[in-house]
């Protein structure tokens, strides 16, 4: 137990395995499994996928539940919605509106 005044120890950043899964008419990536530091925000996953697929309009969602906001913490998403040690991120290219 740490005494008052001691700075808390900072744990080493943990990696999260992200599995990208294409849905609808979205193109499938040759490499769909990646690692990302758990302290990163979901915005990095969104930007990464946009660059990989060369598309600005992408819809990402977790399992069959919801679309995370860009400021969500990756580790928190993995802890709550991870499957078999991986965070499955589905993506689609169809326009949601219009």
């Amino acid at each position: 137990m740490s005494t008052p005044g001691d700075s808390p120890s900072v744990p080493a950043p943990r990696k999260v395995v992200v599995l990208f899964r294409a849905t609808g008419d979205a193109p499938i990536m040759k490499q769909s499994k990646f690692k990302i530091t758990g302290t990163e925000k979901f915005a990095k996953v969104i930007d990464f996928l946009r660059k990989q697929l060369h598309r600005e309009t992408l819809f990402l969602y977790i399992n069959s539940a919801f679309s995370p906001t860009p400021d969500e913490n990756i580790w928190d998403l993995f802890e709550n919605f991870g499957i078999d040690g991986k965070l499955v991120v589905n993506y689609a290219c169809s326009m949601a509106w219009g």
Partner: protein, 329 residues
């Protein structure tokens, strides 16, 4: 099913003939008509609910009754998970003669007076500058517009409604903005309050993204997120939900086992190629059974609006906390 429907129709005909021979035709016929009418409506509602759940055929829509059920679930989940945030409430709507059909929802969701900080200067340019060094000789004129300490950033107040769209059979997001003094925001001000990404989408899809519509219940012009793509997104998102799994999402577990080991990291920014052809897994490729238990159906219906909100609300700048989905997992 067709034989059952035909049998019910024939029964109704026989009963109506019997009562037609009674001398008190009017009262008996009215009562029977109301009774059978209600039974018929519920019968068709159940049929449509079951039909829309069939594997591979669900079109991403929901009935008015399902909309109400999902909305009430949202209200209770939001209250439990996000007590510190402005609350969504359920507002019942007045029934009219035209709203007596089963496709008309009995109410709508309301999120009232959400403050949105705006850096728009157009409103401020019309007001006199406020001088902090003013010695106070000028008597405050209560007839002048309030300037206070607004400065450059002003707060706009937005109210959001989630209304059932009977044509598309999906929820529809309406919004209305106003200044703190009550003046409604115009189209260009609302657009500038949107997230940057949504502003680009609006520029590209002028008539199919954010439009000004007649509010179906209040009959006043409100801004609305166009619902034409909602069913497609919901159909995609819930495509795995109808599959029965040994655990949660057994399909995904099977795919994980087939994939190769990790060989790339995001930091290296490896390039990749997009595959041509359709190697994606469609519903028909999956060798799993469809489970139509009432518990799974009820669970799906309750999650519909929660899931839909995670797509729709951020488009207009309303963040939906992920803890809502932890609770409803």
């Amino acid at each position: 099913m067709d034989k059952l429907i035909a049998a019910v129709d024939h029964l109704v005909f026989l009963i109506s003939v019997c009562f037609a021979r009674s001398w008190d035709f009017t009262s008996w016929a009215d009562e029977l008509s109301n009774l059978l009418g209600n039974i018929s409506i519920r019968f068709w509602e159940n049929c449509s609910s079951i039909r829309c759940m069939a594997p591979g055929t669900w079109d991403g829509t929901l009935t008015a009754e399902e909309f109400e059920r999902a909305a009430l679930h949202l209200v209770s989940t939001w209250e439990r998970c996000c007590p510190d945030l402005p609350q969504w409430t359920w507002q019942t709507s007045t029934k009219t003669v035209l709203s007596s059909t089963s496709d008309h929802a009995c109410g709508y969701l309301v999120l009232q007076d959400v403050r949105v900080s705006s850096d728009q200067k157009d409103d401020m340019e019309k007001l006199d500058a406020y001088d902090d060094d003013d010695d106070g000789d000028d008597v405050e004129d209560h007839a002048t517009m309030y300037v206070g300490s607004l400065g450059v950033n002003e707060q706009h107040l937005y109210t959001y409604h989630v209304v059932y769209n009977e044509s598309y059979r999906v929820p529809m997001l309406f919004l209305q903005g106003r200044l703190q003094d009550g003046r409604p925001l115009q189209w260009d001000s609302v657009l500038r309050d949107l997230p940057v990404g949504s502003q680009h989408v609006s520029d590209q899809s002028r008539w199919t993204f954010l439009t000004q519509e007649d509010h179906p219940l209040l009959h006043r012009p409100w801004f609305a997120l166009h619902p034409c793509g909602t069913s497609e997104i919901m159909r995609l998102v819930f495509s795995d939900f109808f599959l029965q799994g040994k655990k949660d999402n057994v399909f995904v577990s099977e795919q994980l086992e087939e994939l190769s080991d990790i060989s790339a990291v995001l930091e290296k920014q490896d390039t990749c190629e997009s595959l041509s052809g359709r190697e994606k897994i469609t519903i028909s490729d999956r060798s799993v059974k469809w489970d139509n238990s009432e518990e799974r159906l009820a669970s799906w219906i309750e999650k519909y609006i929660l899931t839909w909100m995670s797509f729709a609300c951020p488009a207009v700048g309303v963040a939906i906390p992920s803890r809502l989905y932890i609770e409803s997992k």
